[in-house]
Symmetry: C2
Subunit: 458 residues, 2 copies
């Protein structure tokens, strides 16, 4: 067969990478738990109808569908051909594909809440750390299989939740050593008020889409796009005025009030922002929250406060997290009035930030600490027994798998970055001793086997 | 839309179940690490050609294939129709389906080793804890998405590895409290010798398949099956003699020697069994290894020692783990001579055993420890600040999300099994105090806010 390979856009994670990723997941998980969030896991596969129509036309096309099994059973071929014609028309037919891989964690969460609402205690605070799949064109930093890492509170309209989520960002990033991240905040109500100011709520989507591109394409192109989307010069001038608001948070709030404070939605949006800024309980905050009216968070279901966490400016990696408030999580699944707010962490980008800034701690490396040499059948069994006592004391050990020259065994220890070797040769076997060598310092010492203990390897 | 549901044979895991499963995974992971095994993660999706032809005809049919995206693009329809005809004939065509969900962890591991052999240090000891997918008919205890939990050493023929794996089973099961599990052991070389004794190596598969069913169908049916598979009376008598070997390990070894000890493969197989039994380094072993010549481990690639771990007889759950030695992991991927040995843990069954025997420890529950009441806007902000100090001391806290009657907040704490509440009302706000109530004992106490500390909640 041809050379083995893996699908484009997917990755194998070797030992070191798995450990570093686990360090990130565990850090985030421990903070989520500290804040009373509870773990949830949903299957990789969902029924296709659960996912379809939830991610916009473009999103739907990126869902990985699973081919039904048993299509080759005799007797069903004509039906299958007819069904397949519909697939060619871009439809989804149960006869061909009933299931698909999940595209995000939010829709499966909504489906879970709708299915289990009777059993859950609300507000329900859940976190979920699982892979999702998207048939996107793979490119640097964009994968077809990647982890999402979300925390949401549903069943509560209280802004106390937003305060908590701000704290979670701070606590996770400080724990990871990313102290100079930026947390930007805006409110979709303010964007809605801006749309209202520009002649109607129906402009909201056009304005949001255009503003969302500001970072990438600059103000002139945004203005062009707005014109193409049918906004007139006066409206574009208003939007430019909005986008040009600068200053510290207090100054920005003053300016936005003069622009949209007279509109009900606008005033509500401003009030919510003020609540979060004024009641923020982070002690000794290193990176204060920044109000950023250019923040739009794309074309999603957000309706209130929105967040974006950005990597430290030094690494130029952009967004490492985001989230916001929504009015209705589960309406699509027949359960109305389920407001909530959530955030997510961009684990792949966070990984790159930690790598670039050399922020992974020493303790992430949890490979073998001690290699026992194998110098013969009897020697190896004595070494095995000594090793088991060390393992019982929590020391991660290996015994070299076969009798071999010392050189070869030293080389193995070196390649695997093992710090200590324990040598039991024929002489040591006779005397019930062992030689312990620290490979970093080169210091070696002979001792009674009974004196081998975990204290030697710290 | 219709009521939301999840695909047959898949499961959502709510908070309590996730925590219990994590407890099992973490226990196994910590032992794997203690024994020098390193984590590996491979993608959910593999190229279809990596998987096809590796699991036998029946297995291949149970692979979940992923439909290619973009089939509805104009211009490709005729090709797609032709390709689909081949799918209806039971073939796999890249034009329709290039990728599939992994069916086990072994083949992706083999693919990984073949792809990365130049970078790896051998013997390579890896563990892998990930979900796999099979389009099996769902039934009690059999799922379409389930976790496997494997440890393998490749690049070594040494029986020291087998000794280690025996120790890993013991250590994991003892840590989990499943002290009276059974570890059964056999050697495929002994089965090969039995086939030789019955007239030829070509009988090996027939004999193995039949023996493998002994537990389920009994000796008479096994004999029937052997006859159907073309074995004559004399051969069946030999096999029956083999299956009837009883006694303790020493007695069994004596009897097997008289039966097949004169054959080279047989003698080698017996010698290997004796090595493992005689050099077993488990201290104070509660369940000694049991030689079981009826153990066959199905129609797989095993060629040497094979293992099966069984649940305590009291719970009647059968196998909770298994594994064995193989000669050639990566030959199918163009890299020959890669012998190895591995074991796996049946996590779903282990979960059921722990549940039935009530072996999950108290500490598995890591939900919220303290609920702060919300008795008004100012009270809630003071409570929030006090709560943050507790969180900084590692106490898992929540603030009730909105101002509500005390009753409602007590009820929330009760439903979520939260042990303590902290009440800050208008009076406490004035006096800088808080009331701490232990919901288990009913004892409550008023104290200065500054005296709230993690020591109160242990």
């Amino acid at each position: 067969m041809s050379k083995p390979s893996i699908p484009q856009g997917t990755r194998d994670f070797g030992p070191e990478v798995v450990r570093k990723r686990q360090y990130i997941f565990n850090t985030i998980r421990s903070v989520f738990e500290l804040y009373g969030f509870q773990p949830l896991e949903t299957p990789a596969m969902e029924n296709l109808e659960t996912l379809m129509g939830k991610y916009g036309e473009e999103g739907d096309k990126l869902i990985f569908r699973i081919l039904n099994n048993g299509l080759d059973n005799t007797g069903k071929h004509q039906q299958a051909r007819e069904d397949f014609e519909k697939v060619l028309e871009g439809k989804n037919v149960k006869g061909i594909t009933e299931r698909a891989l999940k595209y995000d964690l939010t829709i499966p969460f909504a489906r879970y809440v709708a299915m289990n609402q009777g059993q859950l205690t609300f507000p329900f605070k859940r976190y979920q750390i699982q892979p999702v799949w998207r048939a996107d064109r793979p490119q640097r930093g964009r994968y077809r299989e990647f982890y999402q890492c979300d925390a949401d509170v549903v069943g509560s309209k209280s802004l106390l939740n937003e305060l908590e989520l701000v704290n979670i960002y701070e606590e996770v990033f400080v724990k990871l050593g990313i102290a100079d991240y930026e947390l930007r905040i805006n409110n979709r109500k303010i964007l809605a008020a801006l749309a209202e100011l520009c002649g109607g709520a129906d402009k909201m989507i056009d304005i949001t889409i255009a503003i969302d591109k500001l970072d990438k394409i600059g103000i002139d192109k945004v203005k062009e796009e707005l014109a193409q989307r049918g906004l007139n010069e006066e409206q574009i001038t208003t939007i430019e005025k909005y986008l040009n608001i600068t200053g510290n948070n207090r100054e920005k709030l003053e300016l936005i009030k003069t622009l949209i404070g007279h509109l009900e939605t606008g005033s509500k949006g401003i009030e919510e922002l003020e609540y979060v800024i004024n009641n923020n309980q982070i002690q000794n905050q290193r990176s204060p929250i920044i109000i950023d009216f250019t923040l739009a968070r794309g074309l999603n279901y957000y309706t209130g406060i929105i967040f974006e966490a950005k990597a430290p400016p030094a690494v130029k990696m952009g967004s490492i997290g985001g989230g916001g408030r929504y009015d209705d999580l589960t309406g699509l699944f027949g359960v109305p009035n389920m407001p909530g707010v959530g955030i997510s962490f961009g684990v792949d980008r966070i990984y790159d930030v930690l790598e670039e800034l050399k922020l992974f701690p020493e303790g992430v490396y949890t490979g073998t600490q001690v290699l026992f040499f194998n110098l013969g059948p009897a020697e190896s069994i004595t070494a095995f027994s000594a090793m088991q006592s060390l393992r019982n004391q929590g020391v991660r050990c290996e015994l070299y798998h076969e009798q071999a020259k010392m050189d070869k065994q030293f080389k193995y220890a070196e390649k695997k970055n093992i710090g200590f070797v324990v040598i039991i040769g024929s002489q040591e076997l006779l005397n019930n001793t062992a030689v312990v060598k620290n490979l970093k310092t080169g210091v070696q010492e002979s001792m009674a086997l009974a004196n081998l203990s975990n204290k030697l390897f710290i």
